[in-house]
């Protein structure tokens, strides 16, 4: 795409500079004369917004670092001081915390756009992979930054995530302690997290430079997915793309401003306004919204897979969910780039998008919440109203023979209407048998196990001392919990990348792809091409 440079220095100074440091030429070729496909839609404006987000986060972050104190006893107060006493501190702190969310909002749209229009396919594999690296660094930076205010969520989030690394076999424990600088999240942790949180954005900026470089080498993809063939297919970046990016970015800033000025805490969690307390875990720990889908995948694994225990499986799946993006260029076998011409793939993509939202929803829910069940939880209580109670001690020779002794005692009490054995020690116990009286049963139903136990207690209290003991048979219906839903969604997430995309590319019948970008609108209307 980078043809011969068309930059011509006009003044003596620019000619002098161009011979020594052709920096104006670089800027001109990259952001002015750079040929842009003429058919880019608004989904292509998110790159500009992401640049803005990175700059905003770095500038506000550097400013906040002038006031923030990375100390377990002072961090929370120093953030409060920023909000209350530092001139415009409240504004800058709000921009930084809302900015993290806006950054992820834009990056997710940017990634879904790349997925839909096949922007990861040759020759843009490296461009896509560099993007994935940026995303991974963003996740790391966001996690480190969320620790710094040292509220309850900060502390327990850091504890939970560092414990993830402990899941790795053999070396996990050492790595975890190495990362925390101790045996728990404490002063060394916050100090190093602050240092790394300051460092990583500059690493991101470096990778962004590579990302843009790769973009300018291979050229931008476009909604048709057809490569640029002639000058008629393109317009110069400035002013055409620049104006569109500026307009779209201003709309994005308006959304940003609505959050900063009117809902600064809407995307955060109330518990992070409680100072960190290592002695008390908050009732529910959830990450920020942008990490919820991965959190759901982590928790979806509540079962061991062979030698891999559930914890490690969850951790591996979570990392694999991001890792699979790195190999996506080689998983999708389709010759057609844009899903605009792949009707079948479009359906699967739509489901995939819904699945990602669904995973995000699951990540924010209590994993045990029941979404659907085959019936009520029921319990059947049986007891004898009135009647004589005979108590008989049971003694076994040894603990191993307890079962035998108990059975023998029960047989001795044949004829009783109801009996119950209570074990009081390794070899001792009692048999209580009721004879006479009238046998009663009652069945209670409830929507949850907690409520069922309440119902059972209510019946017992109602019958009271009229019955010496009860037998309770509980029936648990089939339940579909948040965890089960997350498992289904996780399955689809991986199926989409590992099975659907590879097979679909070989089997589907794509629609007719236009020959050139400019063709859909006809040759007659391209007279304005630069």
């Amino acid at each position: 795409m980078s043809g011969p440079s068309t930059y011509e220095p006009k003044s003596g100074f620019t000619r002098w500079l161009d011979k020594r440091l052709p920096i104006i030429r670089l800027g001109y070729d990259s952001f002015v004369a750079y040929p842009t496909p003429r058919n880019l839609n608004y989904w292509w404006t998110f790159g500009a917004m992401l640049s803005l987000c990175l700059i905003v986060q770095i500038v506000t972050g550097v400013v906040l670092a002038m006031h923030y104190v990375p100390h377990i006893n002072l961090a929370f107060s120093s953030v409060q001081r920023i909000d209350r006493d530092v001139p415009f501190g409240w504004l800058i702190q709000n921009i930084h915390s809302v900015g993290a969310s806006m950054f992820f909002l834009a990056v997710y749209i940017h990634m879904f756009r790349g997925l839909y229009y096949g922007s990861y396919k040759a020759p843009r594999e490296l461009l896509w992979i560099l993007g994935c690296v940026i995303y991974l660094l963003m996740v790391g930076t966001a996690f480190l930054g969320y620790t710094l205010p040292w509220g309850q969520m900060s502390f327990w989030g850091a504890t939970v995530i560092t414990n993830l690394l402990g899941a790795l076999p053999v070396i996990g424990e050492s790595i975890r302690n190495w990362l925390m600088g101790g045996f728990s999240v404490d002063q060394p942790t916050i100090n190093r997290f602050f240092s790394l949180h300051y460092l990583l954005p500059f690493v991101i900026a470096g990778v962004v430079a590579l990302h843009v470089w790769a973009l300018h080498e291979s050229g931008q993809n476009n909604p048709t997915g057809v490569e640029v063939k002639s000058k008629a297919d393109t317009v110069p970046f400035t002013p055409h793309a620049t104006m569109k990016d500026l307009f779209a970015t201003t709309l994005f800033i308006m959304l940003f401003a609505v959050f900063v000025f009117y809902m600064p805490d809407a995307l955060g969690h109330a518990d992070n306004y409680i100072p960190a307390n290592p002695l008390q875990t908050p009732p529910e720990i959830v990450p920020e919204w942008y990490l919820l889908p991965f959190y759901a995948i982590l928790r979806a694994f509540d079962f061991n897979i062979g030698p891999i225990d559930s914890k490690l499986a969850g951790v591996l799946a979570m990392f694999a969910a991001i890792g699979v993006l790195f190999v996506l260029p080689w998983l999708d076998t389709s010759k057609v780039r844009s899903m605009r011409y792949r009707p079948a793939a479009r359906q699967f993509f739509l489901v995939f998008a819904v699945v990602c939202f669904g995973l995000g929803w699951c990540g924010g829910q209590n994993p045990g919440n029941i979404l659907a069940k085959s019936g009520d939880f029921t319990a059947t209580l049986t007891w004898i109203q009135g009647g004589q109670v005979a108590t008989q001690p049971i003694e076994a020779q040894s603990a191993a023979q307890w079962e035998e002794a108990a059975r023998a005692a029960e047989q001795g009490a044949q004829g009783a209407a109801m009996m119950a054995v209570t074990r009081s020690g390794a070899t001792t116990g009692t048999l209580r048998a009721v004879s006479g009286g009238s046998p009663q049963t009652r069945t209670v139903r409830a929507a949850t196990t907690d409520e069922l136990e309440t119902e059972i207690s209510a019946v017992k209290a109602e019958v009271g001392s009229a019955a010496p003991f009860f037998t309770v048979e509980r029936y648990t219906p089939f339940t579909f919990t948040v965890t089960r839903l997350a498992q289904v969604l996780t399955l689809y997430y991986f199926l989409f990348f590992l099975i659907i995309l590879p097979l679909l590319g070989l089997r589907e019948t794509p629609g007719r792809v236009p020959d050139t970008i400019a063709k859909p609108v006809g040759d007659g209307q391209t007279q304005g091409a630069a």
């Binding site: 058919n39 209350r84 317009v235 104006m243 000025f261 009117y262 109330a270 409680i274 007279q527």
Partner: protein, 280 residues
């Protein structure tokens, strides 16, 4: 078939939802606070009264570590002082709170109200001459006096319960000021040992005894001295304490959004202009 199944699922979920709501804390009732609307500010008289309730009732157990007395007299604070010119006499007169006629803000170091509030408080400090602990009158730069020297002392004095710091309490609880207001007025009267029944508190039982009673705090401005009014006022005060820059923030937001709207319109016109001869 599929539709019937999903309808059944929705029905089950609805029932489950109701059941969960019953087990959790009751949803806070709405205090109809002025600051809840997008452009609403604080009722500063209520913030002042709320500060009085905090000082005379809540502060015996609850700290507010992140607030200093000077905050009361800074811009946007309940005792912010302005010199306003009297239209009739032409004299400058002190006026608490922002006036419709503008006026010059008086720096908090020269604010007699805040100075008096601070001096009425006894602060534990170290004597600069002897190095020994000493009690002295408060200064405006002092943070609100702590009722207990540390958390252990607070727990020991409150039967094991820890009265939380109230500096950012409305941000730290779901429901914010409405939650605080509901909790303070939500006692049923029943108690169990040292716990009091209150359906707005998660778990339904709270260690804090009902703190507010009718007539406990005298108001100078003629406002009704009911427990409900106290709760409403102190919730307003605590919301101000959590978010003292709210009014400034909302005002600035209007300007910023109006500016962005103009900029976006101009950029849209510019964009259309640039692309007017291009097919795309």
């Amino acid at each position: 078939m599929f539709r019937a199944l999903s309808a059944a699922a929705v029905a089950v979920m609805a029932v489950a939802g109701v059941a969960f709501a019953a087990a959790e804390a009751q949803h806070p009732r709405d205090g109809n606070f002025s600051f809840e609307s997008p452009l609403g500010g604080y009722d500063m008289a209520a913030v002042q009264r709320g500060f009085q309730v905090y000082s005379q009732v809540c502060s015996t157990c609850h700290s507010m570590d992140h607030l200093a007395y000077r905050h009361l007299g800074e811009r946007g604070g309940p005792f912010a002082l302005y010199m306003v010119r009297n239209e009739e006499t032409g004299e400058l007169e002190p006026h608490v709170g922002e006036s419709a006629h503008g006026g010059r803000f008086v720096d908090v170091t020269d604010n007699p109200y805040v100075r008096a509030i601070a001096q009425a408080v006894t602060i534990s400090d170290i004597d600069p001459n002897t190095g020994q602990p000493v009690d002295r009158p408060g200064r405006i730069s002092d943070h609100f006096r702590r009722p207990f020297p540390n958390e252990i002392a607070a727990r020991a004095a409150n039967g094991g319960g820890y009265p939380p710091d109230l500096s950012v309490i409305t941000a730290a609880r779901h429901g914010g000021a409405n939650y605080v207001y509901s909790l303070l007025t939500g006692y049923t009267g029943a108690s169990e040992g040292t716990l009091y029944e209150n359906h707005y508190f998660p778990g339904g039982r709270i260690a804090m005894p009902p703190p507010l009673a009718d007539g406990a705090v005298p108001y100078a401005d003629g406002t009704a001295t009911t427990a409900d009014q106290y709760a409403h006022d102190v919730s307003t005060f605590l919301q101000w304490a959590t978010d003292p820059h709210m009014v400034e923030r909302k005002r600035m937001g209007v300007i910023v959004l109006a500016f962005l709207l103009v900029l976006a319109s101009l950029l849209y016109l510019g964009y259309k202009q640039v692309w007017r001869n291009e097919s795309h």
